[in-house]
Symmetry: C2
């Protein structure tokens, strides 16, 4: 079968190869993938920034396809089903945090940028019927991360004022879509006027350009402040987020693309009873609730661009450039 593997000896760091999967285990299914999607962790793996990298591994955490073969202990009715894959496994028994055995599909295991992938059948969920194959493939990892950040860690309530920073990313877009669907008043930040305009089409009320020196004052004058902020930049934007948080507000972050903050106003945090909370991926329960929510609210993932498997280097380059608005999808079959 065709697959995209990591090969750090090449200048592109990834290559399209012909390879075979190992024998199917008794609790696994083989899925013929129709579509896959990229996440930052794929590009970071390509850049050598992810732990436990191994040349030869098939990249990719997101996928949608049909079950074409099942292991001896898999219930027979899975055969032929149209599915999406929960890329998170071994979360463990505690909802508040993952176990040390937690892993994500694709690095160090073989992932979804291939014609076939093999996963334990307890990772399967039916493909939501209102989604195309490309949309379904775009959902799992970013949709799960956003769901936990917004609802589980963030505790969003209808009517609250929400800021989602960096609207270009997949997680941020799901977070904005979820918050709108949950009845919140949703605002975003971006350095791109075009992305702010696009965000308004999904129900976002307004956007702030965080590169404007006076964006904090603009928020105060127009919105007042935010009850919930969902961020993945951190770095020295944290003090701005603290400044635009309402008393009792929650700042949830699921990444730190701008690195560690070089400090923050501690007095403002305790005096205003603020919460700064981390979030990553989600539990099996979170995934189940996320899929239910997406079906109930008929949420459709935003797709930036669709590439063929053979054009994966171009797809990765697009993610690296950070200009996308929505998920970058790979059409496989």
């Amino acid at each position: 079968m065709k697959a995209i593997i990591l090969n750090r000896n090449l200048s592109d760091k990834i290559e399209l190869v012909e390879t075979e999967l190992p024998a199917l285990k008794e609790n696994e299914v083989r899925i013929s993938l129709v579509a896959s999607a990229l996440n930052h962790r794929d590009e970071w793996s390509r850049q050598g920034l992810y732990p436990n990298l191994r040349d030869g591994v098939i990249l990719g955490s997101d996928g949608a396809g049909k079950v074409v073969k099942i292991g001896s202990k898999v219930p027979g009715d899975w055969l032929g089903k149209e599915v999406i894959i929960n890329p998170a496994s071994n979360w463990g028994g505690a909802e508040h945090a993952k176990s040390n055995d937690f892993r994500i599909l694709g690095i160090p295991d073989n992932g979804t940028l291939a014609e076939y992938v093999q996963v334990p059948y307890d990772r399967l969920h039916y493909k939501p019927e209102h989604l195309s194959w490309e949309e379904a493939a775009a959902l799992p990892l970013a949709g799960l991360t956003a769901y936990r950040a917004v609802f589980v860690q963030g505790g969003l309530q209808a009517g609250e004022k929400v800021l989602i920073t960096g609207i270009g990313g997949g997680v941020a877009q799901f977070a904005a879509q979820y918050a709108v669907a949950a009845g919140a008043q949703v605002y975003i930040s971006s350095s791109s006027a075009e992305k702010i305009k696009r965000a308004k089409e999904i129900g976002v009320l307004s956007g702030f350009n965080y590169k404007d020196a006076n964006w904090v004052e603009e928020v105060r004058a127009t919105v007042g402040g935010f009850d919930l902020i969902v961020d993945s930049a951190m770095g020295d934007t944290l003090n701005n987020l603290i400044d635009v948080a309402n008393p009792g507000g929650r700042i949830i972050f699921y990444g730190a693309t701008m690195g560690n903050p070089s400090g923050f106003n501690a007095r403002k945090v305790y005096w205003n009873q603020l919460t700064i909370k981390g979030s990553t991926m989600g539990s099996d329960g979170d995934f189940l609730q996320m899929v239910d929510f997406v079906k109930n609210k008929q949420i459709v993932p935003i797709i930036d661009q669709i590439f063929e498997l053979k054009d994966s280097v171009a797809a990765f380059e697009r993610m690296k450039a950070g200009q996308q608005m929505g998920k970058i999808v790979i059409r496989i079959s």
Copy 2:
């Protein structure tokens, strides 16, 4: 009446004077104070570090005494009652954060370092019967702050592993006593071997000297990690606290005596799903629950030393030196 007022023209910054209170308002009671207690905010006011300072104001937030006079709209059965005072007022209608009108007894209003104090009768609670006057006076501000930090913001559950940092302070001691009473496994940190020894007498399992370079490794080797950490130092100890937090752990801080952190490991916070949350004082509901808890668990505040009102400068100096183990109480009548 005798009272301790702020007078920044003096080298001591406070002085014992003869003064009179204004006429009692219709919703107020006059309390003949038997004992008062010091808090950091009193000493910080003396040092000019608190906002809204005004020479001539009577300091003090904590007090216990007898109701000797009531305003025209106060129910008659308050007269003669033995009471403690909730020093927090105007919290507002939202439990998750205080309103902008929130204020604390003593600065900018006249406080409890005096023979009499006048407060609205809705600030009164019956003095817990198991406490002496000095113990009752030691409870309100620190007891409230600790209750909200441990239970409301910290969400402590029985059986959890808890670290209380800086055990010398009043809030930290209440936090340790509450956590022990709630069935947690409680550890403390201090730079004083004597204070660690004293803490074990109230049920703390063990203590760590945070000035030891290897205290983080010691925690890992002996305890593993903490589910809840209650801190008021912040500064650059934050990364150590992040290092000793269990996955999903909560770091609650109610002050920042060591100033702002100069950064923190953001990846560890989101990857381990940690919470960093501020807490200050508490709502009326928190105060009510705190008093109930103290009565049910028969918690007795730890008193460091008792001073006469005329020796207040010495009492303030003891707080400034930071060597106390327990509350510094002023006996008034």
